[in-house]
Point group: none
């Protein structure tokens, strides 16, 4: 088998668990274009693990005395 495993995809429920939010909220992020999404022929969404983790790391940048 060859090999490009490609990219790991996550379900809305998986992403929601990572962010501690409802799957509905994750869906809204995709609708708002704030996160890339892959739709199945049936209409369900899948999210890229790399993008989710990157976005998650970005939000982890809190607790920083940002000089606004």
């Amino acid at each position: 088998m060859s090999g490009t495993v490609g990219e790991q995809l996550l379900t809305p429920g998986e992403v929601a668990a990572l962010f501690r939010v409802d799957p509905k909220t994750v869906t809204r992020w995709a609708t708002a274009g704030r996160i890339g999404s892959i739709r199945t022929p049936g209409g369900h969404r899948r999210f890229r693990e790399s993008e989710v983790k990157a976005l998650l790391a970005e939000l982890t940048t809190e607790a920083e005395p940002a000089t606004e």
Copy 2:
């Protein structure tokens, strides 16, 4: 005769891994006519790599670079 010979065929499990769905779901897509399928003499399904990748790219939506 046949035209393109270098067409790679993918198994339901391969396609399922690309979409992060169950192999059974891929079978339903073929049954619903959402994706072309080739049946082996034994009744198993095979999918065209080009068709699958094209469908994957078609349903892929990237998040726009939010200009902060």
